[in-house]
Amino acid sequence: MHADQTAEAEGGSAIERFCERSREVGVPVARVSREEATDVIGELADPPVVATPLPWEGIDSPEDATTEPTPDDLERATTGVTPAVGAVADYGSVLLRSDRAGSEPTSLFVDRHIAVLDAADVVPDMGTALADHGDAFREESASIVVATGPSATADMGELVVGAHGPRGVDVVLIDDDADVGETIDGGSDE
């Protein structure tokens, strides 16, 4: 159902497929317009919130978010908001790039991670994702986590969602073509 659709995976269909796959791996997607994005992030983010800067003009984390957290803030935070630099439609994965602002710990030490993603950065398949970022690894020493669903373990005798990493993940997908009105399907059910 996934990788085999790469042939028709362009533009809109890759985004549709990303949304579908993301939900299948337990990550709800709120598909919103640029104008709505800040409000939706605010609604989804249960306090206390930690956040790293979002690179899109006019899109911000909640006002009460801590942007220069201490280690204790991180451990105490319920929600972490960070940007994603891309997504892979076939797998419902988001690409989280490490940065000096601390996006890696902010997405990792919290109970719930909200990844904010620009629809323009969704690619159809893994091959394209690696090719697109190949030079970033080589020339900018980039580190990227391909994150698919919340953290999980089967080591305690059965599957448990929420191991060392977040128990819940939401994606806020900024899509100017989004159909306003039927876009928000709510956060993870915690």
């Binding site: 601390g102 890696e104 690894f137 994150a147 669903g149 373990t153 448990v160």
Partner: protein, 754 residues
Amino acid sequence: MSSRSESRRVKAAKIRALMESEGDAVRANTEGFNQGRYESVARLEDYEGLKDEARAIKEEAIERLPELIDAVRETIEARGGTVYIAEDAADANRYIAELCAEQETETVVKSKSMTTEEIDVNDHLAEQGVNAVETDLGEWVLQVADEAPSHLVAPALHKSKEGIAELFNGVFDPDESLETAQELTAFARDRLGEEIADADVGMTGANFITADSGTLALVTSEGNARKCVAATDTHVAVAGVEKIVPSVEDLQPFVELIGRSGTGQDLTSYVSLLTPPVESPVVDHASPEEPIDSESADDREFHLVLIDNGRMAMREDPELKETLYCIRCSACANTCANFQHVGGHAFGGETYTGGIATGWEAGVHGQESAAEFNDLCTGCSRCVEACPVKIDIPWINTVVRDRINRGDDGEFDWLVEGLTPDADPGGVSLQKRLFGNFETLARLGSATAPVSNWLAGLGPTREAMERLFGVDSRRELPAFRRETLVDWFEKRGGVATSEKRAQRGKSGEVESTREVVLYPDLYTNHVLVDRGKAAVRTLEALGVPVRIPEIPSSGRAPLSQGMIATAREKAEAVADALAPHLIEERDVVIIEPSDLAMFRGEYEKLLPERTADAISAGSYELLEYVYGLLEEGVDAGVLSGPRGDGDVAYHSHCQQRTMGLEAHTVAVLDRAGYDVTTSEAECCGMAGSFGYKSQYYELAVDIGEELSGQLEGSGRVLTSGTSCTEQLGSLGDEPVHPIELLAPGRPAGGDDGS
């Protein structure tokens, strides 16, 4: 000799104990992973293509390894990291201990890494007063329990939730006793969170390392590897040299295959692509109230310890080299019937587990370590199609078995040497020698039947067989038939008669001009003669004349005992006997799937390429051949349809399935009007001689019972392979070969009446 029979008893007891204590958990988990793999790879558009890509990248990488190591070193050093090539475990441990001493660290937090298990770094650090804490939940359970991993990917899969709860409650005595998997996970997460906060050094493995960018790929699910790096300022990565691939783009097939092949997940939660020292601030729990300093990203230190420990020598070894392509996904273990029933504590060596462990253990720890468990690979070949880098795992097991045989000084026994005219050295055990020379036994058996059968069944004989050869006395022995298939065919008038009968069979609109050489495999010729007669009658009725010349045995029996020299002699003799027929463009039809698997598979390694290719191209499995005739338009009406409801339960042979030939039998039965249910079990457990061996008898029966349970109630049981027939026959009604149902004018299984 008695020491051998004693060690067989010890081994049987160990396997029995493991089946009881760990068998249920191992089986539930591995069978779940295996099923998940089938489902997950089926979702790929081009699974085979992806495997080919992965294989090609590994082949290239190992070929260019010295150059790639230099490239990794250059890239990482240019960024301020260090690369240390450790010759062996001691060298690696010394270097890592020195690093910890420099950092004055007391605690090292680790994410899961089999390579650090290989070098036993935890023990070594403990001797230096450094506490290495496993943060992968499964590894931590084992650390608390002081046990070894039983699986490459899910190290604690032999433990149940109840077992872990008992362990934690006993060791930690928590305020409220722990019960559910959620509670256990939360407890472990909190405790390990504190350890991570305390540590200054994080140690990880690496699934892959890219030479062009110095990026490590870590395939994980829990998030502990990410935390071990994020919260410490010194990152030590330990990896075998074989983990290097040329470029970031080369990661694609591996990232897409590794989770699917292993645990049946399309992708695990996190594939971390770290290019260290990572550009991320250190979460310094020593100053919990200080804002995390973004400049601390500049203070990060990175050390890559690349382990040789025998790998560069494996690279020079033409047979073991393939092992280096292994990405340690665990598919070969999960798909293995023996592994599913005993797990890695029996089917594994010092560090590694499952079928490929033979290659790894022989390469890094030495042959003796592989000798312990190597016989648990029965060569069923189900792992070959599961392996994402297409390693011929059974062949590696055969080669190492052969080397182990040769390595022994050899107790020469004139009696058995006389009985067993093989080309292999004296080090081969009597048990291996007996089964490896089955051809001699079968000839003797038929020549003296029924006396031989009567004699073999007698108490004192069985006792001696168990003591000398380790043939389990609970196992029924094959009953040799006085009249072999070849004798019967000659008596009936040989090829002249067959031509006449085939002429009568050419009644349909399409006439075949083919001619068949039916291969008289040992079992069809001496034991299961009826299936041979049914094959002859069916082919003739479809208009194809048959001949059954004397052709030697395929070499399968000695090969499965690791007697490669003997197997090669047999292969050469078979090639000589088949040559005139292949030149006449006769089709070689084979009933026994394990022999066809030799013709199509191992002969490549035993014979010159052109000879092997000619035999492979000219050989067919019996029902594959019948299917082909029907496809060419020959009338299927002569095949016998069902008398009753037509329900049949079919267990295809393991190697037949690997060759992709299960479907042909099912299709022919279907066309003849049968309603076919197929089994899911990967193997019947008998696997040639395996189920006869006293040390493995109970394991084989355990596997067979699972299979017979699957088939129960689905109708008449059909099998294609001899081993499956013997195994299922010993556990229930005697199965028949599909051809015995399909042959015209049966009574099924009855005599031919000609």
